[in-house]
Structure formats: C-alpha cells, structure tokens
Amino acid sequence: MTGNGTERGQGEAALQVRGLSKSYGSLKAVRDLSFEAFRGEIIGFLGPNGAGKTTAIRMLSTILPPDAGSFTLGGVAHTDAIAIRQRIGVLPESAGYPFQQTGDEFISYHGRLFGHSPARAREIGASLLQEVGLGERASSRISSYSRGMRQRLGVARTLVNEPEVLFLDEPTLGLDPAGQRQMLRLISDIARQRQTTVILSTHFLDEVEQICSRVLILKQGEVAAEGSIADIKRQTAPRAARFSVPPEMHDEALAHLAKAAGIAHAAPANSEPGSIIATFENGWMTENSRLGMNSAIRALTDAEVPILSFELEGSRLSDAFLSLTEEEPQ
C-alpha cells in the first residue's frame, strides 16, 4: 500500500470546513478548525490525546453542534443534519455492538434505518459483509466475533448508505498486526474503488504514512500543521543523523564526525556497537540540509571509514508529529 487518493485541488471538495469551534465549559476542545477534503483522498487526522480529534469528528458527523463555524459536505450545509447523516459513514472510537445479533442482522437493520427496503437492506448487508471479509460469518452472532472482525463489521455498517465521506476514529486500535494490515487495505480499497473521502483518526503514524495522502495535525484543538506527509516532514528539520560504522573504527569515526562542519556533537548510540548519533547544530540543517549531510558523510569517507548505514533522525512522520505537538518544557 502506498499513499492513496486524488490530488488535492482536483474537482469540488467533498468536505469544506470553516472555523469550526467547540467548547466544553471553559475548555476549548476545537478552535477554528478549517480544512478541505477531496473525493477519494484519505486524510490522516492526527493529534495527541485530548487534541480535539473525536470532538471534531462528532461535530462533522452532526452528533455535536458546533459553537461557531460551519461546514458543507457534498454541498449540503451542516445545519441540515439529516441530509449530512445520509452522506456520511462513521466508525466511532468506542463503537458498541449488539452481541445477540448476527452480522447480517446488524447490517440489514442499519440498512433499514437508512431507508432501504427490507429486501434491499439484506442484499446490501450480504454484499458488504463479503467485501469486508465476513461473508462466511454473516450468520454468526456478533458475540462470537474477534475484535478485528467487529471492527470490519463496523466498517461494513458505515458503508450501508454508500457515504461520500467516511470518518474512522481509531479503526485499528486493539488489532493485531495482521488485523491492522487487513483494516488498512480495506480502508485503502474503499477510498480507491468507491472514491470515498476518508478522514482517518489514528495514533499509529506508520499507518498514516502507508495510506494517507494528506495529514492534519491537531494540538490543543487547533490545527498545528496541514499538508502532504512530505510537507509535514519538511516543516520539522532533522535534528540528527545515525551512522553505523565497523565497531573497530567506532572511535575514529566519532572523532571525525565531532569535527565535521555543522555537527554540534557526536556520541555513541547506547544500544548498538558501531552506531553513532551526530546531532546537527541548531537550524543548520534547515538552511542547507544537503550540504550538512554531505559534510558529515564526507568527514567519514575522507577518513576512509566505511559507512554501513546512514539514517536521518527526525525525517519520519513520527518525529515531525512529536516536534509539532510536544509541549515546550516550562
């Protein structure tokens, strides 16, 4: 799986959010949230706990009324809650299931609630359960489903109305790696095949890197960063580089790196023999990253120290995320 979705700016936005705000008493849960989402794109909705992701999703799904701001979904204003709900699918973070029902009863029931006839609701239910890989367990009680199966059942439920926008709040939480991979593939397929816009709220940043075309990072209810994953990574400069050299040349490499231009200091990495972390001078990498990396590499190659591996610390989405959302020490 790779970054998915339609390029930004193509066609009309499926979702346009303008200045959405929500407070609980004195706590401002979401402040002035604005963004656009286009057909078929998957947007990673990121933020630490309490950043306002769930509140934002609840406002966008008409469960909570905003205190200020507005949004349109498929051209429908947020004030027409019923029309909005007809156009969205939502998998809440803590979605409960009626354990006494079977998978097909559950999906058919929701199909009926979206206005389908009993026969059509059953037909849709069978098709969706097949699509999410639960076809063979359709007539089993939900109580016998694993967590991963329940999550896929939840996704199937969100599709009964062929939504234009799908909000998924932590869909892979509690799933094992195989379940996570299966869920990501499913989300990716939904966006690609159905051209559904997916707003994916998750704490798993590797998932975001795998399937999202854009990310929106919230911090204390405000947008801390928005853009493509590459844009976000660029907003936070790498802070250090990790070099791996032969253990017998470790000390020599350390000395050369410490003297290299733009390197504030070099120190052995704690866990791995032959591994060195070279920390860049503050701001230096931002100004001339290519030169900085080359300078450090040249210091080693000139000294004929073989570089077994080289990795920029801070070049991952998780580094950018932490840099953008971590509190400054008081």
Partner: protein, 260 residues
C-alpha cells in the same frame, strides 16, 4: 450515493428491532414466565384453600388485577428506563444517532417496545381471572377495566422512564431514579388514605386513582360512569409524560442531559 430517500416511519423499524430483541431473546419470555408463576401461586392459594383465603372472589380477582397492574407498570418502566441510557452505556447509541432518522422516531420505537409488555402481561393474567371468576359479570368487568387502566399507567410510566433514560448519563442512575419514582407512586395504594389529603392523593396520584377505579368497578360493582373522576389522573399522566418523552427526545444527546 444510492437512490435513498429519507426513511419514513423509521419508528416502525426501531420498534420492530426492539420487539424482536425483547420477545425473541430470553429477556421477555423469562419475565413473563416469572409473572405467570407468581399468579399461579396467588390463584392456587385463593382457589384451592378456601379456609385460609379471607378474601371473597371479587376481592381475589381485584388482587390479581392489582398485582398484574403493578408488574406490568414496573416492567414497562424498567424497560424504557434502560432504553436510551442502556444504549449509551453499551456504546451503541452513537451508531443509532448517526443514522438519518429523527430522534423522535427513536423514542417512539423504543416506547412501543416498552408498551408491548402490557398486552402480553394482561393476556397471561386472563386465564387466572377466568379461574377465579364467580359469574360472568366480574370477568367481563375485570377484562375490560384492567387493560384500560393498565394501558394508561403503562404509557405514563414507560414515558417517564424514557425521559429519565434520555437525561441520564448512567444506566444505573436511570434505573434507580425510575424505580424510586415507581415505589413513591405505588406506596400510597397500600396506605389507608383518609381526610382531604387522602382524597387529594387518591385523585392526583395516577396509580392510586387507577387502582381505586379498578377496585370500585370490580369489587364494589360500581359503573364506570360513577367513578369517571378517578380516570382523570391516569389520563393526564399518560398524555403529559408521553408528550414530554417525545418532545424531549428531539434533544437526545450522546451524553446525558437536554442541553445543546
């Protein structure tokens, strides 16, 4: 999107699902079985042991009707008290609120399921009344008056339970408040109500008034017209609480309360 229309009469879909869950699962049938066992014991004691039974036949039929009324009202109240707050606690409410059906339809569908307890309970009670009857007149009076009073009180209490459930963020709180309301309104039926306060309570408490109406018609053989004033409180209670339940349901929220 598919060619969906806004769901019409969605309360029927909700009611159908709630009725299936109540009556096709163990919950409803077990409650009815327990009620049936209770009536069997009362009927056996009344019909088989004439020497120990100090009540005459009309009073015995009245006792069965009063027990039936109390059980029917309690079950309807507790079912509706669990209807919203239970979904909230089981985390299934959000999925329901995310559907395009009006909140009012959710309330009506759930109320219909709670109301369904009463016809079932009264159907179970009828054979016992038949066994205990003495002559056709008391049977006719009993099977006409009890369903009517029961229906009014079941509507009132189920609606009250739904209002409490809609407002409660915890299911335990909803059930506790509803049960307390049930006990508080039921206790005066067992008290000797005397003086003007007794009269006031008799006519204003819908349970006391309904219970008294049944007693007057079945035991004292009064006509319905003689005691029509006793019907005012049950009718008003049913209308007011039902209206409140349906109106307040439009403000149903994912958390408790009725605010924005």
């Amino acid at each position: 999107m598919t060619s969906m229309t806004r769901p019409k009469r969605a309360w029927l879909v909700i009611a159908g699902q709630e009725l299936r869950e109540l009556w096709l699962s163990a919950r409803g049938p077990v409650l009815v079985l327990l009620f049936s066992l209770l009536l069997s014991v009362i009927t056996y004691l009344a019909a088989a042991d004439k020497e120990l039974n100090i009540l005459d036949q009309r009073q015995t039929v009245n006792l069965v009707l009063q027990v039936t009324l109390a059980i029917g009202v309690a079950l309807a109240l507790l079912l509706s008290a669990d209807a919203i707050s239970g979904e909230r606690e089981r985390e299934t409410l959000e999925s329901l609120l995310l559907t395009p059906i009006p909140r009012r339809d959710i309330a009506i569908g759930k109320l219909v399921a709670a109301f369904s307890v009463w016809p079932v309970i009264i159907l179970v009670a009828i054979p016992y009344i038949w066994i205990l009857r003495e002559g056709g007149e008391i049977f006719t009076d009993a099977v006409l008056v009890a369903p009517l009073i029961g229906a009014l009180l079941v509507v009132a209490f189920a609606s009250l339970g739904l209002v409490v459930s809609t407002a409660s963020s915890s299911n335990r709180a909803s059930l506790a408040v509803s049960f307390f309301a049930f006990v508080a309104l039921m206790v005066p039926t067992q008290l000797p109500l005397k003086g003007w306060t007794g009269d006031a309570l008799r006519y204003t408490n819908p349970v006391t008034a309904g219970s008294r109406f049944i007693e007057k018609v079945v035991v004292d053989n009064h006509s319905w017209g003689d005691e029509v004033s006793l019907l005012i409180a049950p009718v008003l209670a049913a209308v007011i609480t039902l209206t409140a339940a349906v109106v307040l349901a439009t403000r149903l929220r994912i958390y408790g309360g009725f605010g924005r």
